[in-house]
Amino acid sequence: MTDTDPLATTFCPAEISGVGLGLRSQHYQDILRTRPSIPWFEVLSENYMSTGGPALHHLEQVRQHYPITLHGVGMSLGSTDELDFDYLDKLKNLIQRFEPAWVSDHLAWISTGQHYLHDLLPVPYTSAALEHIAQKIMRAQEYLGRRLLIENPSSYLCFREDEMSEWEFIAALAERADCHLLLDVNNLYVSATNQGADASEWLRLIPSGRVREIHLAGYEDKVDYLFDTHGHPVHPPVWELYAETIRAIGPRPTLIEWDTDIPSFERLMQEARTAEQTLARLAA
């Protein structure tokens, strides 16, 4: 039982543009009290899959004033396990209730033999894996009745059996599954560095027509490799790669992700303004 009757609630239109922020429970009060001029919020789907409680109650209020996107980690699209239809039903309910602009998940597996590891694990870039994952994406899209955005991973390894590079794989997968892409520029930079590949070269492989959203976040430099923590400001080389991306594919709705050591809302707004300035500068 919420204070607001869902049937009486009116949401603002769903379309997104500009630079959004990840919605985090620490900031509900700030957002609802001050109504900051943020064009949209991204919501972590799994945090709202219960049938009641404070999280849904707050999201209901936020959604009245802001468009949202739903971003999940639970589909396990890269796993050889069958799709989890209970999970997809919950996601479908969320979609129906909150009318997101986009729904996204990752190129990764998080489970095997129904054992969930809750971490985005790497797939080999082989044609067999590509066909398997494309089939799962297509089945999920069919079940949900909409196209998904698939996000490129932060990888810490490449398999010896890989038949193609990360972005050759993603480009071919998107084509085969006819899905959209969520381009995480930080992930692309982290993966390229960790795999000894050239980020600018990967950028040229991106099927720009399929990219509907961009993510930016901060990594941690562990000397031997880059670690995708989402706990830092966006680093200078990622800002540069972001500018290069916008020049190459044009402006896209962009999200600042910050999930660990979450700073004040004001600090997040600052980060969003930097991205806005880049978008404005390159559009001029």
Partner: protein, 253 residues
């Protein structure tokens, strides 16, 4: 089994401490920069354990505070390999952790720790429980007028009854980050009987129950009819329970 499935099962085993699997996956990975194949795989081991440990640390925040970060993380590292998660929702993970803590020998010095952890688990579940309308007192009056013996009350969907021989509510309270009162506490203060639940969408509560109310609510939790309740419990407390929100609803047989 396909090659991909085999790889994923091997990878999973490598994540949870199987050294042979770790070395086998390491051999499938190309060394890059200064890292060997196995070192690349170990990065994932760290993120998998890190994610699960962090999630347990958030749910069992008081437990973590009581034993310290290092002890907690070591305890989680022992728990995780033998407690596979079966749900895509990370919030479902950790139900068996309180029982594990009770049997975890290095924590035996803190005999109340498992009970505190159980309180935290039910608090966490109450947060995510289904919304429900308050007890319909009008409908209840009508049902009582017809045949009161056929009424079967329900606890709120979010509610759990919890009993400990330690003052776990008090321990929980003084270990909240925003707590400012006295932190004096004696384990001899005696046990507690509690109801952990959520009022409406937002208000999470831990209420202490007196013996009579405890007995009554336990009868209700067992699904006893009003008639059966009247046998052992003090049903004159029902209006007060309804007022406090401890009755979620009722059915008629």
């Amino acid at each position: 089994m396909t090659e991909l499935e085999e790889l994923q099962q091997l990878f999973r085993d490598a994540m949870f401490g199987d050294k042979i699997a770790l070395s086998a996956v390491g051999n499938l990975v190309r060394p890059v920069g200064g890292l060997s194949g196995e070192e690349h795989v170990r990065i994932y081991r760290q993120t998998v354990l890190g994610t699960l440990t962090r999630s347990l640390g958030n749910i069992f925040a008081v437990t973590r505070r009581l034993v310290g970060e290092q002890f907690f993380d070591a305890m989680a590292a022992r728990y995780i390999p033998d407690a596979p998660s079966r749900s895509p929702d990370l919030a479902d993970y950790g139900e068996s952790f309180p029982q594990f803590i009770r049997e975890f020998a290095p924590a035996a010095e803190l005999p109340y720790l498992g009970d505190v952890a159980l309180l935290e688990w039910h608090w966490h579940r109450a947060f995510h429980a289904a919304d429900e309308p308050p007890l319909d007192s009008e409908a209840l009056r009508a049902a009582a007028a017809e045949d009161a013996s056929r009424i079967v009350f329900r606890l709120p969907a979010s509610a759990t009854l919890l009993e400990s021989r330690f003052p776990i509510r008090r321990i929980w309270q003084i270990n909240q980050p925003d707590y400012h009162g006295s932190d004096q506490l004696s384990l001899d203060d005696g046990g507690e009987r509690l109801i952990v639940w959520r009022r409406l969408a937002n208000e999470l509560r831990i209420d202490e129950l007196d013996d009579d109310t405890w007995q009554l609510l336990n009868g209700i939790a067992k699904g006893q009819t009003l008639e059966q309740l009247g046998d052992g419990a003090n049903i004159s407390l029902l209006p007060r329970c309804a007022e406090r929100g401890w009755l979620g609803g009722f059915d008629t047989l």
